[in-house]
């Protein structure tokens, strides 16, 4: 006779179920039976061309703004650490300003930039700010510049997480400062940078909905345009919400895999990796196998 072993089940677990099950059932019943949800309207608009166009713009805006934010964040983080007092101060001031003011205000500000600066002349070229600042450029500027400040803090924390001995060893080898950053410090900082960056990306996706106030045709704005005509406000907000949820879910799953990849590279789990032993003779080791890890890491930087 083999023994039967049961895991410990705290009583609170049962209380949890007792509350969760009826609440969930009630919520589902409310959503299914309440005619005012107009699920038929939701179904009708969920793949409407205007909505799909809005999704595309939301995705595009998310990635472009995030890309700007990441590049800016790395530059700012490096500037904050720099020995030049002025540069470090300027970067800190930038971060303080953009983190300290509401994103919505920043977006509206960029949209109305021409009120402050009607035209700009660079090298004899006259630039009409009014013509340049469209809802889209204002959206990219606002989201990207704001994200830069948050990414700077994330990258800075990542750089700080790398053992100073690494920089020292690279310096002692004679590597140039840019090479040290690119080859030694940043790849190791990635482990600390990737997870919060994933959160920022999900946050960015949702924050893009703010640009609807500028009239950029993102997902939320597209839904708003439709419900301003047919007054089906709730069903169209549900359509938008479903899509936002779907997109954030995809990003969250992707984040999980990217994190797994980056946490693997520095740990002992390398033991489990499939590595082809180089010949113990004079033969040159096969670079394609040996450096596969490095190249893929590099391309992600």
């Amino acid at each position: 006779m083999t023994d039967i072993r049961k895991p410990y089940r705290p009583k609170t677990l049962i209380i949890g179920w007792v509350i969760a099950i009826p609440v969930t059932l009630a919520l589902v019943a409310f959503m299914a039976t309440n005619k005012r949800f107009h699920w038929d309207v939701v179904g009708q608009y969920i793949t409407a061309p205007a909505i799909l166009g809005g999704i595309w713009l939301t995705i595009w805006l998310t990635f472009v703004s995030m890309a700007i934010g990441i590049v800016l964040g790395v530059l700012l983080a490096v500037a904050v650490r720099s020995k030049s007092g002025l540069l470090s101060w300027l970067a800190s001031a930038y971060i303080g300003f953009f983190r300290g003011s509401p994103l919505l205000v920043q977006l509206i500000f960029w949209y109305n930039l021409s009120a402050l600066l009607p035209s700009l002349s660079i090298g004899g070229m006259q630039i009409d700010i009014n013509a340049i600042i469209t809802p889209m450029t204002a959206a990219i500027l606002g989201l990207g510049l704001n994200e830069g400040a948050y990414m700077a803090e994330i990258v800075r924390a990542g750089l700080l997480s790398v053992d100073p001995g690494q920089t020292e060893a690279a310096e002692a080898l004679g590597l140039r400062p840019a090479q040290i950053l690119r080859k030694v410090v940043l790849p190791q900082a990635m482990r600390a940078i990737i997870p919060p960056t994933g959160n920022q990306l999900v946050g960015m996706l949702k924050n893009t909905s703010l640009v609807s106030v500028l009239g950029a045709a993102d997902l939320l704005h597209s839904a708003q345009v439709i419900y301003s005509m047919n007054f089906q406000t709730i069903p169209l907000l549900i359509v938008a919400t479903i899509w936002y949820l779907a997109l954030t879910t995809v990003l969250t799953v992707a984040q999980h895999y990217v994190e797994k990849y980056f946490s693997r590279s520095l740990t002992n789990s390398n033991f489990n990796r499939k590595v082809v032993k180089p010949a113990v003779t004079d033969q040159v080791p096969t670079p394609s196998v040996q450096f596969a890890g490095e190249t893929s890491k590099e391309s992600a930087v």
Binding site: E171, L175, P177, Q188, P278, V280, Q290
Partner: protein, 253 residues
């Protein structure tokens, strides 16, 4: 013998605390100098100054006749820009107590990084040399191992190979065996002895008195930021003149 490294009248402080006082040292080509002394006496700081990893408050460091870390006009010393500092460091290898291998790169890549990135040599040609270097330090089959997959002694030997790949004029060792399990110390010291025999100029901070006795041309005893005594291994280890040297040696021998 030609002079390779010369420190004259080096003072160094961290903030208000002075850690080096009027340090003078000359090392000739091919010479092995061992530095001993209690913890906190400024041994690491001296090595880091030689390699311009630290700024100094006064004095001059010359390597192969070149002033390290500063450009000089009259009595005005201006710190060199990072790129020029890096160029000066290319010719000096440094081995650390904690190895400081790059954990994101396999052993072979650790060794190849300097020659490829700094010396701009062809990768293929460098990889051939890397294999030879790995064999020289007894790690022929370990090129594809990440540092985390190697023992301390193996990591330190990769670190030595990483320096050698740059063909340095001199090598600085900062307690290279202090972080190792006792049974791993010998394998690293053996590699260092080979280097010394081949004529490498070395400054070795170490607590391995027997290594100093066997390999060093000169032993230096440091205490409280000063070079207290300097001489042949026999002089310093067997017949120290200073009371501080005697009391230190009585603790480590």
């Amino acid at each position: 013998m030609t002079e390779l490294i010369r420190l004259s009248h080096i003072d160094k402080s961290y903030g208000k605390i002075q850690v080096l006082f009027d340090v003078n040292l000359t090392v000739h080509k091919g010479e092995v100098v061992c530095v001993i002394g209690p913890s906190g006496s400024g041994k690491s700081t001296m090595l880091r100054c030689i390699n311009s990893l630290e700024e100094i408050d006064s004095g001059e460091i010359l390597v192969d006749g070149e002033l390290m870390g500063y450009s000089k006009q009259g009595n005005v010393y201006t710190r060199l820009p990072p790129k020029v500092l890096a160029a000066q460091r290319e010719n000096m290898g440094m081995v650390f107590q904690r190895f400081n291998l790059f954990p994101n790169l396999v052993a072979a890549e650790n060794i190849a990084l300097g020659p490829v990135m700094v010396r701009r040599r062809l990768r293929k040609e460098v990889m051939e040399e890397v294999q030879t270097l790995l064999e020289d330090v007894g790690l022929g089959g370990f090129g594809d191992h990440y540092p985390a997959q190697l023992s301390g002694g193996q990591q330190q030997r990769v670190a030595i190979a990483r320096c050698l790949a740059m063909h340095p004029a001199a090598m600085l060792f900062d307690e290279p065996t202090s972080a190792l399990d006792p049974e791993r110390v010998g394998e690293v010291l053996r590699v260092m002895k080979d280097l010394a025999r081949e004529g490498m100029t070395m400054i070795v901070v170490t607590h391995e008195i027997s290594f100093a006795r066997e390999v060093a041309d000169r032993v230096i005893f440091m205490d409280e930021g000063r070079i207290v005594e300097s001489g042949s291994p026999e002089q310093i280890i067997d017949e120290p003149q200073q009371e501080r040297t005697r009391s230190f040696l009585s603790k480590v021998l």
